[in-house]
Amino acid sequence: MEHVPSIDLIRRALPDIEIVDFIDSGGFKAVFKVIVGERREALKMIYIPKDEEDPEGHAEVPQRIKLEIDSLARCSSQYLVKLGSIPPREIEISGYKYILYSEEFLEGRTIKNRIRELYRPTFSECKLLLTCLIDVVCELKDLNLIHRDIKPTNVMELNIPERPYAVLDLGIAFKIGSTAITINPDLRLGTLPYMAPEIFEPGFRETLNHRSDLYSAAVTVYEYSSGVHPVARRREDHNTTVYRILNNRPTPLSEFRPDFPRQFCTLIDRLMHKMPALRPNIATISRTMEGL
């Protein structure tokens, strides 16, 4: 995020909140660890670009935050991050405008970190991860929402048996049937290596549905299971990655994980099919998972 304010500046602007630490930043967002009452929470600060420097961002960012907060408030899945106690508000620090709100503070590591550590998960862990991700996709589907950014960086591994994983960041969620937030219709939001092939179709917004999230969930589980991204390769340009997403078939997961049940590997492979209609539907996924 541009113009990340220092902790001191935030403390001065928000005297009622105890700012503990800076956690991370990216895109338009910076996250801080804070204490509210006796509870730890994650304070999210989103920079609102000035109208003259980024008119689209200036118009879009507040709408996106509103959609994210509204969506989180309506979701009940325990595998999705919860809102914290700080309601959204706008503040100005050093002449820059931000919107801030809080989410629960999740203790754990992201799946991306685990992949970087070359951790080799067990089948039970991968099955559990897929179960949690599918639960989130289903919940969002019922609310006519598509997460659009399921990826290892947005999935936390928690040390809670009844809540092993949690999905973060509904910042670019897509609401089916609502007025478009993205002003530039050619813009495809998401993290390229995890974007489903249909997102690159012209007019994709008209047909986009939860099957894109199923694809991203499968890519995430595949990468976690194998340690290798199914399609993208390091240090290659965007166009090549797009070509691979549209044309290359991933190596079957069973080749990396012959120790996993074949049905599970096949399920993950099928969820990564290029054609959305060829991806197993929720009922088929549930049936397959029950049999494992």
Binding site: T207, N209, R211, R270, M275, A277, R279, N281, T284
Partner: protein, 400 residues
């Protein structure tokens, strides 16, 4: 895969005997050849032989487009209350005309006590990116809700009658299947009809019109995608292509005794030339994956006895010319066993089996040619090559 009889002109006792012999699992009745009264009688006769027989009724609503044309050949269709020409605008704007048509067609089938209901639809004559396609989707979208509103508990199939040309455009075909598999209130299955060009009951040449890899491969893709999404596919007039569709995880194949029941065509609702000869009696050889004339059967079997199926209906052809009923029974038995031989449920294994079967058919034709029986050799080899290319196309689009 189940095999149904596709009902048509002059059924005689063909279906009754096929049910008795258990060569078929069900029938798809055609109201073009049945008044509401005769439909009841024929169903009673069929169920009298086998109570659990699947009896379905194709409303043939897609043929309403021919109402009022001077050479329309609609038979008894206009006696059915749902068979009314609806203006395209009425079907396109709002849902009342569609709902009304669905209700009337469902009621007709409820009155007949059908095992499953087939929702009517219009014919997509050219492209999936068309007004016709939009109307067809509206029928499909409304089908389940209207059925639920009428308290229908039987499985619901919706008609998808499309011209072969629509399947040739890969991009549009894939988009259409994506829409079809993401409906909020999906039916239990679809009833597909892939339309070739003009045909009549006596023509033997219509099949070649849908012998296009993109058409057969696209039809397979449709079956496969429906299966993945928990929907059944019943393939009307699929005849010799039934094994391909079954391997792609289709549920039902269907065929009848005339060529216009073996390949679907809207041309059958237009009067053709009167008179002419009856079509030649044929024998469906599993080994050749093809129907051959009696003369060919005799000549081929002397050189290559394996072209005979070795099934009970072979006896109809020994020392005599079989009747039309016997010819139909032979076709159903051969097709049913060919389908069972090839389908295990493992799609990769089954595709490999099918390819091996096609290879054996090619080898058989080549051997027959080496003995001087080269008539139609090239067209038969080309037919088999197209089947192979259809499988390759299917593998590619279905990402198998």
């Amino acid at each position: 895969m189940l095999l149904y009889a596709q009902h048509g002109y002059a059924p005689g006792d063909k279906m009754l005997r096929a049910v008795q012999e258990r060569f078929i699992n069900g029938v798809i009745l055609s109201p073009r050849y049945l008044s509401p009264e005769t439909a009841n009688r024929i169903i009673e006769d069929l169920r009298g032989i086998r109570m659990d027989l699947d009896v379905l009724f194709d409303p043939e609503f897609y043929a309403t487009i021919k109402i009022g044309t001077p050479n329309a050949h609609l038979g008894s269709l206009e006696q059915w209350p749902y068979f009314r020409l609806r203006r395209r605008n009425d079907l396109l704007v709002g849902t009342s005309a569609i709902d009304d048509t669905l209700r009337l067609a469902y009621q007709a089938q409820k009155d007949l006590d059908c095992s499953a209901i087939i929702a009517p639809n219009i014919y997509i004559s050219g492209s999936f990116d068309s007004i016709e396609s939009a109307i067809a989707i509206s029928f499909i979208t409304r089908a389940k809700s209207v059925a639920e509103g009428m308290g229908i508990r039987e499985p619901l199939y919706v008609t998808l009658a499309i011209c072969k040309d629509a399947l040739i455009n890969r991009h549009e075909c894939i988009n259409f299947i994506n829409i079809l598999t993401s409906l909020d209130t999906p039916p239990d299955g679809i009833y597909t009809l892939i339309g070739a060009g003009p045909t009549d009951a006596r023509s033997g040449a219509t099949r070649s019109e849908i012998l296009i890899p993109e058409v057969l491969g696209g039809w397979m893709l449709l079956n496969h995608a429906m299966f993945i999404n928990g929907l059944r596919t019943m393939n009307g007039c699929s005849d010799i292509f039934s094994p391909l569709l079954g391997i792609a995880q289709g549920t039902v194949g269907a065929t009848g005794w005339w060529s216009n029941l073996q390949v679907f065509s809207m041309g059958k609702y237009i009067k053709g030339q009167q008179g002419g000869q009856q079509p030649l009696i044929r024998y469906l050889s599993k080994r050749l994956m093809n129907r051959i004339t009696l003369h060919e059967r005799e000549a081929f079997s002397e050189i290559l006895p394996a072209i005979m199926n070795g099934l009970s209906t072979d006896s109809f052809y020994i020392g005599q010319e079989p009747t039309r009923t016997e010819e139909a029974l032979q076709g159903w038995q051969a097709l049913s066993t060919l389908t069972n031989d090839l389908i295990s449920g493992d799609i990769n294994e089954d595709l490999a089996r099918l390819e091996a079967q096609i290879m054996r058919a090619k080898e058989a034709y080549t051997e027959l040619q080496s003995h001087g029986l080269s008539q139609k050799y090239e067209s038969n080899i080309e037919y088999l090559a197209i089947l192979e290319r259809s499988i390759n196309y299917f593998r590619e689009v279905a990402e198998i």
